[in-house]
Symmetry: C2
Subunit: 372 residues, 2 copies
């Protein structure tokens, strides 16, 4: 099976598609659960599958430091190591080097840094990032880029984007083609339309298997993010998947899908689940709140996950108060299921040509709030 | 279904039986996973079931303080709250009051104490303990007793045992009979044969549905514990189940089964799982040990659990080094599966009349050690 993207339907700018990969198919729009260090936190791989997830994300920065890419390769690759035979997308490592590592120094060759774990020195270049992702056996490899900070002047954003473009070329050259595997370029350019145009045009020449939109959700706000999406998705090839990196809230996802995005990843559902926050069809709940202490209702009546069909809000409240691991486990399971069902519903609505009505219905549910 | 115990076979003093309860049958010998605060730590109820567990234990002390017995009752009982429709045994709360609570004061009426959580004052009497366990909807209710400390003089152990005997009578009077539910008395008497005899005789007059052996595994050592078991199990009715409280290591279990014990509980497999220690057919491993960093073998080749069939020792090592919750989750799952398979193997061996050979085989495996 060659790596390909099949567009099944459009509804306005919103798209329903199917991504074909060496490790299986992914109906889009899709949300990728984040499996930072070779595990989606608080979840067995079976539990991740039970949420409806079809593709997960691994973080190159974390994995290159521990257990190391070479070790993952010796263990048969990330799929085998984490019991996830389905598609895996890995990031390039660049974003987390800049946010987590110590003594970072960026130059034309790449970025040198010291590990936040043990202080060891590393040099991440486009070529090394591609090698690491190859060793991890990533189904989808991301180019190494610099995530332009926000705010940035036009000059700063332009210089940063052009560095990313040069690295994208080197990343493309270093990518090892394999049947059913793909590589995505990343459009940068900050909040400047002309820079986004320049970036997209340069990347299109490299003919990636897909295109990510980077440098958003970094503090610019939802309105500006949506504005940049309106501009940027139009610059990308229709027949290739589009991935909005690191986004976001359920509302962000609905809005980005409306603007032509096919793929997402974010730590939000997993991180929120560990801190007692639940995304539901009635909005966001904090299960630590005392109002749930005697609430015998399911967390989300509209949800079919194990957390919602077998347990009560009162039990979840108890688990978080007692600091039991089952609290994070159940709420992560629920949140990921909610994100998946949100994307499944979006896909069905796009196929039916009623995506706007779907979004309105979902948002009305959030506005209605909890029943307690 | 009335609460009953059916003896299927004996092999020496070892017994294979079947416990019939309102919430299902339990083949014995059996190990009860400890679900302290309404959850077996790091496990969904489905995962507990997948280990082969047929009965779990709940702790009255923890549950009476949080979420409270009355609240559990309002939520439909402990079975419903924790998604465990099978049998549940609850302890009386007495043991943990003495080990965890503050400002404990014991007198003839019961024990007064302050909660270790919020300092609130409580008075636990035999009658209140029975009421709490009734509210929790425990399939098996334990009498309130005093776990005699070790070492204790003959006088101390005698006075303590006689208080427990008086409390056992009050507990029996306060127990609400329900079809398929049972109550167990607890033999005390420290390490003194005459006191154990006196205790067992007095409890037999109360005609409990089962008998526990308390006050062991409190520092006396395995040899003395086995010696007291040799004496005590002979004092108990053949047609009633026997439960050795708070025990123990896999080797303790094999030896206690050989001496006529049918039921066990212990935090060891769950607690060990959270601290990277694995019980296996080749002995105990600490998965944090650096020797596992590149070990691509399954944790225990003889084990069919998800941890052993899907993952490597190297992955488990990685998860514990990275402090990922999946490490404790997988290792708890494995350890509980190991304990269950140990008891299942014991039952099959007793039924086949070859329990000694089974124990010899299992111990030889432990002695052989890991292959790496």
């Amino acid at each position: 099976m060659s790596f390909s993207f099949e567009l099944a339907a459009t509804d306005g700018a919103a798209r329903a598609g199917m991504l074909h990969t060496a490790h299986g198919d992914v109906p889009t729009p899709t949300f990728m659960a984040v499996g930072t260090a070779g595990t989606v936190k608080a979840m067995t791989a079976d539990a991740v599958r039970a949420t409806g997830a079809k593709i997960v994300l691994g973080n190159t920065y974390h994995l290159m430091l521990r257990p190391t890419a070479e070790r993952v390769a010796r263990l048969g690759g990330l799929h085998k190591m984490m019991d996830w035979p389905g598609p895996i997308l890995t990031d390039s490592g660049g974003f987390q080097v800049m946010s987590l590592a110590k003594l970072r120094k960026l130059d034309e060759t790449g970025v040198t840094f010291r590990s936040h774990l043990d202080g060891s020195a590393h040099h991440l270049t486009p070529e090394r990032s591609m090698e690491i992702q190859y060793l991890l056996d990533a189904t989808i490899t991301m180019v190494l880029d610099e995530c332009t900070k926000f705010p940035a002047t036009h000059d700063e954003a332009g210089a940063s984007m052009r560095l990313s473009t040069r690295w994208a070329k080197r990343s493309r050259d270093a990518f090892v083609e394999r049947e059913g595997y793909g590589q995505f370029g990343i459009v940068q350019g900050g909040v400047y339309e002309d820079l986004r145009r320049e970036s997209a045009a340069a990347l299109r020449e490299l003919n990636f298997e897909g295109y990510a939109i980077g440098g958003l959700a970094v503090g610019e706000g939802q309105e500006m993010m949506f504005g940049m999406l309106d501009i940027t998705t139009k610059l990308l090839p229709v027949q290739k998947p589009r991935y909005l990196m690191g986004v976001g809230t359920p509302d962000d996802l609905l809005g980005a899908v409306a603007r032509g995005v096919d793929m997402f990843d974010c730590v939000m559902p997993t991180r929120a689940g560990r801190t007692a926050r639940a995304f539901t069809s009635r909005g966001i709940f904090n299960l630590r709140n005392a109002r749930f202490i005697d609430d015998g209702a399911p967390l989300d009546e509209a949800c079919t996950c194990l957390c919602c069909t077998r347990h009560t809000r009162a039990y979840l409240h108890h688990l978080f108060r007692a600091e039991e691991m089952l609290g994070p486990m159940l709420l992560t399971l629920h949140n990921l299921t909610y994100y998946q069902s949100l994307m499944q519903g979006a896909r069905a609505a796009i196929l039916a040509g009623e995506y706007d009505a779907y979004c309105a219905r979902v948002r009305a549910g959030w506005a209605e709030g909890g029943s307690t």
